[in-house]
């Protein structure tokens, strides 16, 4: 080995270690599961959630003893669960329980709601369900946003929530819904809930922004709640006619793959979603669901 190669290798290794330490949420350093995605259908939200995570190797593959885990559902709206505007509380609670069983020291749950946070937390049923499961629910504290360098194509830096950035593991638990601009809100768009500042302005370049932000927060695991999905008047709904019951959970490690599959739940192609297209073009994940290894289970 030449000296220059050695130096280059050392630099790269330390860089990747540095990224690994800085961004401990990146599962890419762990053992890759046998499947890209697990798609489980069944009547019990709690059971299909557990089954999906088991299909990817169980929660112990993702969460280690003593980890501080952030579980990030969508608690954006003052709606009760049947309106499919927030993540299903049973799904969130199931994940919290699995994390604790896997030895997590703490499981934190929060979201920067759009409607009044108190009403969102209570009416969504999530605060109650998470507390019962042993997790810690907290409201967003505006003091805890810190500017994070993103260096994306549109977002160069943005205030992000420190409790999430400092967690050992992050599990994204979005709900699949219609959205007027991005067409669907799935996993990548769920990160808007940890963005501080005037986040509404990212709608000006929504697809690029979502990719930028998603690459800054790489989750350990994504569990997409499609127990009930909202097919119109999203993202907050309000009309039960727009709600469709799919009784489905999609879980995966790569957020682009999960969102790509999410599109198919609505009869769309993954390429219909601008942010999935851009993410795939940049090599952040696969878009072609036909080429993914998918474990489908029905219980």
């Amino acid at each position: 080995m030449k000296r220059r190669d050695f130096l280059r290798l050392t630099a790269l290794t330390s860089l990747s270690v540095a990224i690994g330490v800085d961004n401990r949420t990146n599962q890419a350093f762990g053992a890759a599961p046998a499947y890209d995605l697990a798609v489980v259908t069944g009547a019990s939200p709690q059971k299909i959630t557990s089954a999906a995570i088991d299909a990817l190797g169980g929660m112990k593959t993702f969460v280690k003893r003593g980890d501080v885990v952030v579980v990030k559902p969508n608690i954006g709206w003052d709606r009760t669960p049947e309106y499919a505007a927030n993540t299903n509380p049973e799904v969130v609670a199931a994940i919290v329980r699995l994390c604790l069983e896997a030895g997590a020291k703490k499981v934190k749950v929060f979201d920067r709601s759009v409607n009044d946070p108190r009403r969102c937390y209570v009416q969504s049923g999530i605060a109650d369900a998470v507390k019962k499961a042993g997790g810690e629910v907290s409201y967003i504290d505006e003091r805890k946003f810190r500017d994070v360098k993103i260096n994306g194509s549109v977002l160069k830096s943005w205030p992000l929530y420190t409790e999430l950035m400092e967690a050992d593991k992050v599990i994204n638990v979005p709900i699949a819904k219609h959205h007027g601009l991005s067409r669907l809100t799935l996993g990548m768009k769920n990160w808007m809930g940890v963005m501080g500042g005037s986040r509404a302005s990212i709608h000006q370049k929504i697809n690029e922004s979502l990719v930028d932000i998603s690459m800054a927060i790489k989750p350990t695991l994504v569990v997409l709640d499609a127990v009930r999905v909202l097919t119109a008047n999203g993202p907050q709904g309000g009309n039960l006619k727009d709600v469709k019951k799919l009784d489905t959970i999609v879980a995966g490690v790569n957020q682009v793959a999960v969102d790509a599959y999410g599109a198919t739940l609505f009869g769309m192609k993954s390429s219909d979603l601008g942010y999935v297209r851009i993410a795939a073009q940049n090599g952040f994940g696969p878009m072609d669901t036909a080429r993914m290894k998918i474990r489908k289970i029905s219980i």
Partner: protein, 515 residues
């Protein structure tokens, strides 16, 4: 200290604490109900009962509780003022900082009766001004809009210092203090109110007058005190002085109500707060309170001419205040977006007592006190300012805490159908219209089941000449309820490109837009 005085101080403390507790509970915890009867003190206020009855010819059921206060006053005198009223207790506390001889002629006692006459006569002609001077309204309004926001702001400034310190253990300490303060007294979010400083200065003025003379407000100004004073004339519980009195005058120095206790046969039950200071201080132990005393008492002499003048002023004030453009048929103030469930403007003003409960409880802090938007008679009544906070779609708290029914209590289902105004788009500022830039935030946050904002996909040219597609928002007038969340969340933050005005409000028969 003798027992009655000790008991009185304990009772005062208990009621003040109850008042503060209920005040702190006037805040959402995420459920549809608050869980506590937060407007309880107002329910017991006979001044509001009587003036609302006269102005609106109707009264909210809760106010029947105030009959208890009237009954108690007939039996025990003005014990409400001396033992219960939280503003009276605060006046007591501030007044105890300085004990000076009365400097104001006791004849000024009559001022409060004249104010009462003024308020009652104007309410008879349909104008509810009592809330401006009612002690409970005044206290809740001052706490809600001035004292509490200032306290919260000061606390947060301190916490920010601890958070910002370049030392981790100081930061952790800050976090612990913040958690404790949040549990104990901090509001969920920092409130901001128009005129907070002004209402605060008025309140400090009321408290500051105690330095001139203890319980200045209660002696000379309080219209509720005057009302109870009148009832107190016939109270059964009377003060009597035994032969042991050597007229040393000690009692007069501690009297907080200008009741002339040192003039043996001229003790004035209308002014006495039954605080028992005179009983406590008497070196001869000659003072006692009991039922059925035959000792002559001082009478209430306001002066017939003065009463007539006050009554006439009350009558004249009504047309004087009302002759403003707002009273003109079909004239509506676009900024006067009232809370959901508000009665039609005239009826609303006949009931609203400006207590500030609705503004305190408003979940987004969007309900603000008016200055002159609703005319002088509407001063400090609630108006929604969406730039500060919108009306939360499924929240019904303002109607729950309104003591007089000026804001009706609505169920969530009823509220979803009530429009408080209509959103309009400023196409000169809206990003997809004026600047060929994508944005759908107003549509995204629109809460009606079928969205009141719909998007039209159009192709436009951007600044570089490229043809791009944007979605331009439109308002569906039939569906829009004027909640204002679109205005609150509009990314054009300094002057939102979508805004709500009062037109289309359900409560008005004339402020209509649609056929």
């Amino acid at each position: 200290m003798n027992t009655p005085r000790r008991i009185r101080i304990a009772v005062q403390a208990a009621f003040l604490l109850l008042f503060v507790f209920l005040f702190l509970q006037t805040e959402s915890k995420g459920n549809d109900d608050l869980g506590y009867p937060v407007k309880l003190f107002l329910d017991f206020d006979p001044l509001i009962l009587i003036t609302t009855l006269l102005s609106a010819h109707a009264v909210a059921a809760g106010f029947l509780l105030s009959i208890i206060v009237i009954a108690v006053t007939f039996i025990f005198g003005r014990v409400f003022c001396g033992w219960i009223c939280p503003l009276g207790t605060l006046n007591n506390m501030v007044g105890s900082l300085r004990r000076s001889k009365p400097r104001i002629s006791p004849r000024w006692n009559t001022a409060k009766y004249l104010l009462l006459v003024f308020l009652i006569v104007s309410s008879l002609f349909g104008m509810q001004l009592a809330g401006v001077f009612d002690p409970l309204s005044l206290l809740i309004r001052s706490f809600s809009l001035a004292v509490y926001p200032a306290l919260s702001s000061a606390t947060n400034a301190g916490l920010d210092l601890l958070y910002g310190a370049p030392n981790q253990s100081v930061n952790a300490f800050g976090e612990a203090v913040a958690a404790a303060a949040k549990k104990l007294y901090l509001p969920f979010q920092q409130p901001f109110y128009e005129q907070g400083w002004f209402i605060g200065i008025l309140f400090l003025g009321v408290l500051g007058l105690n330095l001139l003379e203890q319980r200045f407000w209660c002696r000379y100004l309080c219209p509720l005190g005057a009302l109870l004073g009148i009832f107190s004339r016939w109270s059964f519980l009377k003060r009597s002085v035994s032969e042991g009195c050597n007229e040393c005058g000690a009692c007069n120095r501690v009297c907080v109500g200008n009741a002339t206790p040192h003039e043996k046969d001229n003790w004035k039950p209308t002014e006495c707060l039954y605080c028992r200071n005179c009983d406590d201080v008497c070196p001869k132990n000659a003072v006692s309170f009991g039922f059925g005393s035959k000792q002559p008492t001082g009478s209430l002499n306001i002066g017939r001419r003065r009463v007539v003048t006050a009554a006439l002023s009350g009558a004249v004030a009504v047309p004087l205040i009302r002759t403003v453009p707002l009273a003109k048929q079909g004239f509506h103030n676009p900024a006067l977006v009232r809370p959901p469930g508000s009665l039609d403007e005239r009826e609303f003003l006949q009931r609203c007592v400006k207590c500030g409960e609705c503004m305190k409880v408003c979940i987004t802090g969007g309900l603000q006190p008016t200055l002159m938007e609703a005319g002088l008679e509407g001063i400090w009544s609630p108006v929604l300012v969406p730039k500060i906070g919108y009306c939360e779609y499924r929240c019904t708290l303002c109607g729950q805490v309104c003591p007089t029914g000026a804001i009706k209590r609505l169920t969530i289902q009823e509220k979803e159908k009530v429009s408080i105004g209509t959103a309009m788009i400023d196409k000169g500022r809206c990003l997809p219209y004026a600047h060929s830039t994508p944005c759908i935030v107003c549509e995204e946050v629109c809460p009606t089941g079928k969205k009141a904002i719909w998007l039209e996909e159009v192709t436009v040219r951007d600044a570089d000449g490229n043809v791009i597609t944007v979605k331009q928002p439109h308002i569906d007038l039939k569906t829009c309820i004027g909640c204002g969340i679109c205005e609150t969340k509009c990314p054009v933050i300094d002057r939102p490109a979508i805004y709500v005005t009062s037109i289309g409000e359900t409560r008005s028969k004339t402020n209509k837009l649609l056929l």
